[in-house]
């Protein structure tokens, strides 16, 4: 079972429907302790970076220990940004810090928020993007974005290049919404679900 962490940052109906569509088994843990029984974790979220504050120290510790146990974790949108050290959107709110760097506002040389379908520019091969060709369009809606670092496996170019997909060991993140990105998004969720079926619960 995948633990879909519901901390109140946005509505998860679409994520649940997409996971159902790829036959992924999931549950929403009521407490951090329930993460121990999961084979993988999804941290979704939309909105302000400060919303991640609802994930208190117990949640952070539980999420970090699932990563240390080698279980796959997928951050979606705000969930990707949460993997980094923080964001200028809420400078006093720490991210998980699994990935180096801070998220920043996209340069507003065009409209920000960045809303709509944009392309993935593959930076290096990755497990999460297996079978997804470069140039595939995916659906974004965000104003802040993560920097292109060593963890970035696919970038997207808008007013500046930013990390669209990150991957570091068993930690994965997507800035776009796979649950709203048609077949490309479903394929990605299918891949992630397949990683979790290989992981064992503690």
């Amino acid at each position: 079972m995948i633990a879909l962490v519901d901390y109140g940052a946005g509505n998860l109906t679409s994520v649940r429907k997409a996971l159902n569509a790829v036959d992924a088994k999931f549950f929403s843990p009521a407490s951090p302790a329930e993460l121990a029984g999961a084979r993988g974790v999804i941290v979704p979220g939309v909105g302000h970076f400060a919303a991640t504050q609802k994930l208190d120290e117990d949640w952070r510790a539980a999420i970090l220990s699932t990563i240390e146990a080698g279980k796959p974790l997928l951050g979606i949108c705000l969930g990707l940004q949460y993997l980094f050290e923080g964001s200028t959107e809420a400078p006093s709110v720490p991210g998980l810090g699994i990935l180096k760097g801070r998220c920043t506002l996209l340069p507003p040389t065009q409209k920000v928020p960045h809303v709509g379908w944009n392309d993935l520019r593959i930076v290096r091969t990755s497990r999460l993007l297996a079978g997804i060709p470069g140039g595939s369009s995916v659906y974004f809606t965000h104003s802040y974005a993560a920097p292109v670092t060593d963890a970035c496996v696919a970038a997207t170019d808008y007013t500046a290049p930013f990390a669209a997909v990150v991957e570091s060991g068993n930690v994965f993140g997507v800035q776009f919404h796979p649950e709203k990105s048609g077949e490309v998004g479903l394929n990605l969720l299918r891949s992630f679900a397949s990683f979790t079926s290989l992981a064992s619960p503690c």
Partner: protein, 287 residues
């Protein structure tokens, strides 16, 4: 490159599609989910379900429609028409809508925009504006003292209408769009009442004026009749997305043909909807 979005609008009454029907066989069935599926295969970027159900008692059908469409369609889905309150919006979002479009309700109570944006995020809140070009500029009172010249003189003024275009409000479209964005709207759905249903082209002047005035995407609506109209609204009109219903009647492949036309004329569009399926499930080579 960020693609210009093509959005199909399905008018739904009591759970059945009543307008904007492209395919005769599906039209008879009136099944929104079947139509949505067909549009999706054609490469539509987003869907809007406009609920035109007359009575509150029958609005439960909308939830069933949203559940059916969102269970198998994994592109953005917006719902408009009859979202009067936070509860209406919550019901639509719980049923599977990603975005709700507020029109009269936002005009009656602009704080609803902020409340919904706080609860669901700005990306979930569209403010729909029905605008009509004023036939003549309203008479202005004689200035008592000399006034500074306006910063950007405008050639036309557009009034905002509520109640499906039946009621003129005191608001002006560009100012209302700015206020909606300030209050937390994530997108503006801008309909030209003058052009709606005419197939004479989008109101590019109106669309460009609003799009230039707000930092959020503007979806142009009203007047689509030819492929060239879409080109015009994405260039002169500075629209981020264009919405249409009846124009997609033209042929069974209107959406993919329109995308090909726009692509050939240098407009960025999403083209890989059908070629990006997993190789295992789709052995066809990419075209």
């Amino acid at each position: 490159m960020l693609a210009k979005r093509l959005i199909a609008c399905l008018d739904v009454r009591d759970g059945s599609v009543v307008k904007g029907v492209q395919f005769e066989d599906l039209a008879r069935a009136g099944d929104p989910a079947a139509l949505a599926r067909r549009y999706n295969v054609e490469g539509i970027d987003e869907l809007v379900i406009l609920d035109v159900t007359a009575t509150i008692e029958k609005r439960r059908a909308l939830d069933a429609t949203l559940r059916a469409v969102s269970a198998e369609l994994f592109i953005p889905l917006a719902v408009g028409g009859g979202i009067r309150s936070e509860d209406d919006a919550a019901a639509a979002i719980d049923a599977g809508a990603d975005k709700v479009a507020l029109n009269s309700a936002a005009l009656d109570d602009p704080s609803l925009v902020t409340r919904l944006a706080s609860r669901y995020g700005s990306q979930a809140v569209i403010v729909a504006i029905d605008a009509k070009r004023d036939s003549e500029r309203p008479a202005e009172p004689a200035p008592i003292a000399p006034r500074p010249a306006p910063l950007a003189p405008r050639s036309a003024r557009y009034s905002v209408f509520s109640r499906s275009g039946s009621t003129r409000t005191p608001r002006e479209a560009i100012e209302w769009a700015r206020e909606a964005a300030d209050r937390g709207a994530g997108e503006i759905l801008l309909t030209s009442i003058d052009r709606d249903g005419t197939r004479s082209g989008f109101d590019c002047e109106l669309t460009a004026a609003v799009s230039s005035a707000v930092p959020i995407p503007v979806i142009a609506s009203g007047g689509a009749g030819t492929f060239e109209h879409f080109f015009d609204v994405f260039t002169a009109g500075r629209a981020d997305a264009a919405l249409a219903a009846s124009v997609f009647h033209f042929s069974e492949h209107a959406i993919s043909e329109l995308k090909g036309y726009l692509h050939a004329r240098g407009i960025p569009v999403r083209l890989d909807a059908r070629t990006s399926q997993s190789p295992a499930s789709n052995p066809e080579p990419p075209c």
